[in-house]
Symmetry: C2
Subunit: 160 residues, 2 copies
DNA sequence: AACCCATTGTTACACATGCAACCATTTCAA
DNA sequence: TTGAAATGGTTGCATGTGTAACAATGGGTT
């Protein structure tokens, strides 16, 4: 009997699989942050992302918000509706193009924004605080590179 | 009039915010992979994760699968139900403890497993392929460290 | 045995998400 | 000017997900 031990089946070690690890890690981190502000401010992750972008860039349209947050326009539309409803957002429509909305935080919106921002930044500090500057930079460079790479998923299927 | 320009509001640059970047990146990557196998094999992400673990470790219980996949037991329960239904999974119950299930892939399950594994590995190759070994190792070390860190979300709230 | 509690797994509900179809408005070309 | 295509945004539907309540089984104490 030959002494080879080729596995009968393909082998995948999930715990070492990068996409899986990113997913689990990201869910844990985002979940932990979201649990904080969602309880305190009745705010979902998508709503918060919309607020975060508009807090820094008032006047964007819903579409522009969608692009910047990497959310699809439906998610933005619904988040905007809720934020308008709860009085955290103001909306006007452009006179020149009445389809286009112009969004910005209300005072109530900024009151929340000014509390959540330090909270999230504190969390990031906690994550990165003890990481040497060099590693931190490398981490972000790696993320940049991965961002660029995975654009074309189709290129991959031919590999196998 | 003094020449300070302290911002009126807290500032957060979402595009540089680590949790946000991880979330977007992870969603893109997992989404790209999932689109491939979900179309081809009528397989959701959670179902695939269950299969991936059982392919390598046959005989685990649903609870054990949940722990290894970082999914909650409800998600596993439902994924298992579907996989049983579609004949990709076999289940027995332990004679000594009839609550405890013992799960493994059926032949049909392995047939799929053996196709999806190389597909996902090819994808990871595509992501990591051009990354120098040293950076790759660092990336995984950084992920390890982040994994350990963010366990206690509460520790953070006092930071602010 | 009778009880209490922990564990495994399922079900029910509320809520988020993605895709497709849709309406309103604008643009452009015939 | 009018009709086709493009754009911004919303709504409906089917599906996924998390939380809590639940049934069933088992372990341990009296």
């Amino acid at each position: 009997m030959p002494a080879h031990n080729a596995p009968q089946h393909a082998q995948l070690i999930l715990e070492n699989f990068l996409p899986y690890r990113l997913s689990v890690l990201s869910n844990r981190i985002s979940g932990a942050i979201a649990r904080e502000y969602s309880k305190r401010f009745e705010l979902s992750v998508t709503e918060w992302r919309v607020m975060a972008v508009l807090g820094r860039s008032p006047g964007l349209s819903a579409n522009q918000v969608a692009q910047r947050t990497a959310m699809d326009k439906v998610a933005v539309s619904r988040a905007v509706a809720k934020l308008l409803d709860s009085g955290r957002l103001l909306r006007e429509f452009d006179d020149d193009d009445r389809r286009r909305s112009m969004l910005k935080l209300s005072d109530a919106g900024y009151a929340i924004y000014d509390q959540v921002v330090p909270l999230t930044i504190g969390f990031e500090q906690h994550l990165l605080g003890e990481m040497p500057e060099a590693e931190r930079e490398l981490l972000f460079r790696l993320l940049d590179r991965l961002d660029e790479l995975e654009i074309r998923a189709e290129a991959v299927t031919s590999h196998t």
